[in-house]
Symmetry: C2
Subunit: 359 residues, 2 copies
DNA sequence: CAATTCTGCTAAAACGCTTGATCAAGCTCT
DNA sequence: AGAGCTTGATCAAGCGTTTTAGCAGAATTG
């Protein structure tokens, strides 16, 4: 039995639950109109700063005062009802927190949306198809201006049927079929850039530790590597391409094989592999960048910027992906009819590469 | 002057911009009612599965068929207008993408909100006070059920005035003044747990590398360390507490000092410092966990799980923070009147700690 | 000075939905 | 047979805005 001592009127005891006072009903347009002694139409006109409207300065001021005094806030729901479409953009993501990647897409989308007066409505589906359908339904019911459908790693996807009931843009993924607008990172250019970092420091024998798992990134980054070599007139040597699982353990495990290749530099499929490789190299007494230069891919800040030495890498432009997705959705940026729009992957140079001393 | 060639009816050239066909007006309740030959009231009743309503099975079916045929979706804005309060919960964050932390708060909040039929409306303020005010205003206009105000690291904050116009809960931060509900990680317990990992493996001389910058975490984690030692009857030795900037470089730089202390184990303020420390230790030829045991704090997956050896640490429960925030907002979980509600920080044991061989 | 144009403001419909009040039938009781 | 239920459905008001058409009076014009 709970003691009855808590019946005291204002319990100030340590564990007393917070009493939330009921909120007053929000102030409406009508109340403002009454307070200012004008019609609701007038108030609306003032609130929305309609240029065309003819309202005397006197009235205008009275209305504004009333608004301030009452603390009026327009009811966006009512506005939306009238206008037919909300100032929402929906973002459905398959993994919000697994990596910082999705966070950056959200961030970019949110900033850009905000810039154009839109708010972001997000839903996390964890890859669950049913959740996804529900999430899209919810967004549709809220009459979103459009939906950004995003994945945390670059891949092909199929477009859920209900997505077609709204405007939508695929972000960080694409669909083979029908003209769905999409924006993805330019993996090929990224791979080229990564390789070029090494090239421009004089390296000629450059290994590439690719991922084992199939993905657009796997193909694109390899292709970029080839293009960069070719541009320098270096023949592609398939023997210099290794494959490993794209994480720290994979990079670590590839060390042995790598060293057999007698290269002066390595380009890793991603930063996590580079991190593992650092360990492998160090265990064998090899110094970065003096004994071997390393570049990664992804620019995962927590890792790349703080490795010893800091890792040169190529950025996956997730923020830009989100922002570009929004622009495309709003029709501010044109989509290509035939293929996903590719976003540039910028180079980030740190200290894991050094000019090769002439032999 | 733009060339007129684009006037061709359907440009099919490779770079032709995608023509978006105008969307048909969404189907309304009224249209469904007409199609089914009933009143809108009836349709509303069956859509909302009102138990009390008396609708014959025949009618019910006709309505449902019409709904399906027309592809009707309720207009949530209209519903909200009527009901007065939306199914939105707002989340304002000061840094969505800087760390994975905010992502996890969002994730937890979104999952929990969804579970109760709410959608998450998010805004990123980047710490900008003006943006913050705008974001909150927007949420108020959308008549959110309440607002979660979150910070990416645990700290004191002051509550923006406009926040008080709505229900709100502070997440990962707290306010000294007035009874604002808040939920924060239990830093003390976390510090205790971290130390206990070491203790239970037989370590007695345990160093603590604390942060230099003041924060609830700094005090709490230290206090937890003291409590754990005390519980084991080990006198606190201030000489075993170092301080460094809480990142990789800080941890690396602390190595030297640490080794002068002649300890068998270290507890680092966070995983990033531990990562730096790994490098420092390795450079000096010391092996983890054999020569020295290490535990971190935060459980930053990308780092902790993939260091060599994987790092034992304590989790910062960001997901739970977000989820608990939502529950508290919805009144499903009681807030304490006097202090922020503290969320448990779970231990994550990996391989950076080994039982100390008896001397 | 009458005709016209401006100026400042309002009335009222519409947006899509919910819900309490109401109603017409068909039943079941005495 | 009439009173009283029950059943199945409709009516209509109202939620808080926006916006078009229109109106009264003042100012300008010829």
């Amino acid at each position: 039995m709970i003691s009855q001592e808590n019946n005291s009127v204002t319990p100030l005891g340590a564990a007393a639950p917070l009493e939330r006072p009921p909120r007053p009903q929000p102030v409406t347009l009508r109340q403002v109109a009454e307070a200012a002694g004008v019609s609701t139409a007038t108030v609306s006109l003032v609130v929305n700063k309609k240029k065309a409207a003819r309202i005397s300065d006197k009235t205008r001021k009275r209305v504004r005062d009333a608004i301030r005094d009452l603390g009026y806030r327009p009811n966006a729901m009512a506005q939306t009802l009238v206008s037919g479409s909300s100032r929402f953009i929906g973002l459905v993501a398959d993994a919000i927190a697994t990596t910082p990647f999705a966070g950056q897409i959200i961030h970019g989308a949110q900033d850009e949306a905000w810039k154009h007066g839109y708010a972001l409505l997000i839903a996390n589906t964890e890859g669950n198809r049913e959740l996804e359908t529900d999430a899209i339904a919810m967004m549709l019911e809220y009459k979103v201006r459009g939906i950004l459908y995003s994945t945390w790693f670059h891949r092909a996807t199929d477009v859920p049927a209900s997505l077609r009931e709204s405007d939508f843009v695929l972000v960080n993924c694409f669909s083979a079929e029908s003209g769905a607008r999409a924006v993805v990172p330019d993996e090929i250019q990224g791979g080229r850039s990564a390789t070029e970092i090494l090239l421009k420091h004089g390296h000629r024998r450059i290994a590439f530790i690719n991922a084992t798992i199939p993905a657009p990134a796997k193909d694109g980054r390899l292709q970029g590597y080839k293009e960069a070599l070719e541009a320098e007139g270096i023949p592609f040597d398939a023997g210099l391409v290794l494959e490993a699982y794209p994480d720290q353990e994979g990079g670590y495990g590839a060390t042995e094989e790598l060293l057999k290749r007698d290269v002066t530099a390595v380009y890793c499929y991603n930063d996590r592999m580079a991190m593992g490789l650092y360990d492998g190299l160090r265990e064998r007494g090899l110094a970065i960048p003096d004994d071997i230069a390393v570049v990664g891919f992804d620019n995962q800040e927590v890792i790349a910027a703080h490795l010893r030495p800091p890792l040169s890498t190529v950025s996956l432009p997730h923020y830009e992906l989100g922002a570009a997705g929004v622009r495309m959705l709003l029709g501010l940026e044109e989509a290509q009819a035939t293929a996903p729009t590719k976003i540039y992957c910028p180079t980030v140079e740190r200290n894991s590469v050094r000019a090769l001393a002439p032999a």
